[in-house]
Amino acid sequence: MQYLRSQEKTLMEKLEILTDAAKYDVACTSSGVDRKGSGNGMGNAIKAGICHSFSADGRCISLLKILFTNECIYDCKYCINRVSNDVPRAAFTPDEICELTIGFYRRNYIEGLFLSSGILVSPTYTMELIYQAIYKLRTFYRFEGYIHVKAIPGADPKIIEQLGLLVDRMSINLELPTAEGLKKLAPNKHRKNILTPMRQIQNGIKENKNDLVLYRNAPKFVAAGQSTQMIIGATGETDYQIMNVSEQLYKKFDLKRVFYSAFVHVNDDKELPAIPGGPPLLREHRLYQADWLLRFYGFEAGELLSEDKPNFNVHFDPKCDWALRHLEYFPVEMNRAPYEMILRVPGIGVKSAKRIVNARRNGNLTFEHLKKIGVVLKRALYFITCNGRMMYRTKIEEDYISRQLLGLHEKLPFSQDGMTFTQISLFDDVRFNPKPDIVDGNLALYGQF
């Protein structure tokens, strides 16, 4: 009857409570699917995703990110909504969710809905409530914008299958990188229950692709693919373990994205680590950088880290760090090197690498040309040649290049008062908080954060 009790609140109060409860979810992306409007409803979807605003923490606001309810029967130690916490509770009705989504979408505030939920009564019961809301939104309101829902582990596979036909993206939180961590901090959740529906969605997407070949108008199942997220820094995993888990998720479960969420201290619990420096933002940043390397740059987790060197470098981004330890591959000749090798040069991203490969078909490239076509040479210059010459007289030597690069100051995206640069000390930065670089900027721009 908790559900009834919370109905007395106004829509404004509910929105506040259920937004506040949803804000720790990382994914707010609206990307992965291109869909024109049908002409009889409202909405479309753009593959790159669209950011509609940015909140005070600099994160992109793309979707109306809310919980259906923050009532929960579970007691996960890291979660603000755990049953043993005394926080104001509320629940939306399906109609209220439709009203907010349509009202916001019409005014171009948002790109769609991201609906997650605490667990009311049972996983299946909660998923049915979510289904009702989404069904109404899609059929009665003819909403054709982006919808992302969280599937709740342990829910009936049938309801996941039904819901998958209505939404663009479904995700299941891995919560913590390893099964041991999960056992310690989320006693009601089991690794197996999380991986089973993940596999179900993966198979559903595959089968759906076959159906689409046969019947062009077959309904699409989770068209934008599935993603997951895990909390970083709440348990003792190394970066190496985390990257291996991500790699497996990409390879074996065909995930579109893995999100990393720096642990934010919201509950006092003896099982939780103390984090005096605030959330480990630098670590989160390094993991995103490495994640990018896995997905777009052809790197493998084993190249970036190892048992002996299980954590990322505080001072250098993972690609730079790799290059410094593998100087035997450098310098790379811009006019001849294969695309894959150009991608491995620190400071050269996917777009620059593509431009270089295209532009050199039209004639030999010089450093002047590289600058003109927008390649940033600040870091790259230590690793490349044009027509056999380096830009300046530099040594290909780990110590020398490291010193030069340290002088450049990596641009990191965070710190309490925005972009500040601290002196390099002999000790690891407590916050281990890196700033976002241009890649992250682009990510945020395309709504992929």
């Binding site: 909140s55 005070a56 600099g58 505030y109 934010v264 605030g278 309490q416």
Partner: protein, 253 residues
């Protein structure tokens, strides 16, 4: 001797200029397209005024699409939507490079200054279009019409309309470019069109609808609540969402 074609500062004007440049069969290296304005006059040059001609512009546009494909034309159109004074000449010389053999791959020929200029302008305009897709805000007026005001750096209103028309086919909506005094109007289930301010007769004050205030309050509350305090980073917010957009955005008013 150089020939300088002085065109009207508009999409049609520049395309007409390109038409004339080919029509006159001059050496392309010696032709410069300029758009109006008080340029410094050059010595030993012939200045020719070109009047914009819609028919010629359409011809050029159509043959470019046929010969170079949608992707190249997309970049050219983007570049023309900018208000850079050199865009006409850059687009013209990019077309020359394309028709002299680079063909559909012309946009990868970034060693060439004109191509690079078009590339940069196009990217710049694209970024602004993409920003506007997200940052534009509608208000509901009495009668259910949606209204949005914008002040973009580039002349992109006609490039925004296909997106919003596809998104809101059943809505009556208006987008107003304050800087250029252009209205784009989309009637429900209909085709959108542009209207210049001087063509609008007797404008009456319109009020927002009854439910508008409540929806705006709800959204403001959402934006406030979604931020995580321990990650506050206004500098990053500023980088991602520059101040120039904010006066037009509900949540920052």
């Amino acid at each position: 001797m150089q020939t300088i074609l002085v065109c009207e500062d508009s999409f049609e004007g520049i395309l007409t200029g390109i038409y004339e440049a080919y029509e006159r069969k001059l050496s392309h290296d010696d032709v410069i397209i300029e758009t109006g304005g008080e340029e410094n006059f050059r010595l030993f040059s012939e200045y020719i005024e070109i009047k914009a001609d819609e028919e010629k512009a359409v011809k050029v546009s159509r043959s470019l699409r046929r010969m170079l494909g949608d992707e190249v034309v997309y970049d050219l159109h983007n570049a023309l939507a900018s208000e850079d004074t050199e865009r006409g000449n850059a687009v013209y010389h990019t077309v020359v490079e394309a028709l002299n053999g680079k063909g559909r791959n012309v946009m990868s020929y970034l060693q060439n200054d004109s191509v690079r200029k078009v590339f940069e302008l196009s990217r710049n305009v694209w970024v602004e279009i993409h920003h506007m897709y997200g940052f534009l805000r509608f208000e509901e007026l009495e009668g259910g019409i949606l209204y949005a005001a914008i002040a973009p750096k580039n002349n992109i209103i006609s490039r925004l309309m296909p997106h919003f028309s596809d998104r809101f086919p059943l809505e009556n909506f208006v987008i107003y470019d304050e800087k250029r005094d252009i209205y784009a109007i989309h009637p429900a289930k209909g085709q959108w069109f542009l209207v210049r301010e001087q063509d609008m007769d007797d404008r009456t004050e319109v009020r927002v609808s009854e439910g508008e205030g409540r929806m705006q309050e709800l959204f403001k509350s959402f934006v406030r609540t979604i931020a995580i305090e321990s990650r506050t980073n206004e500098k990053l917010q500023l980088n991602m969402l520059p101040l120039r957009f904010r006066p037009y955005m509900t949540e920052f008013r």
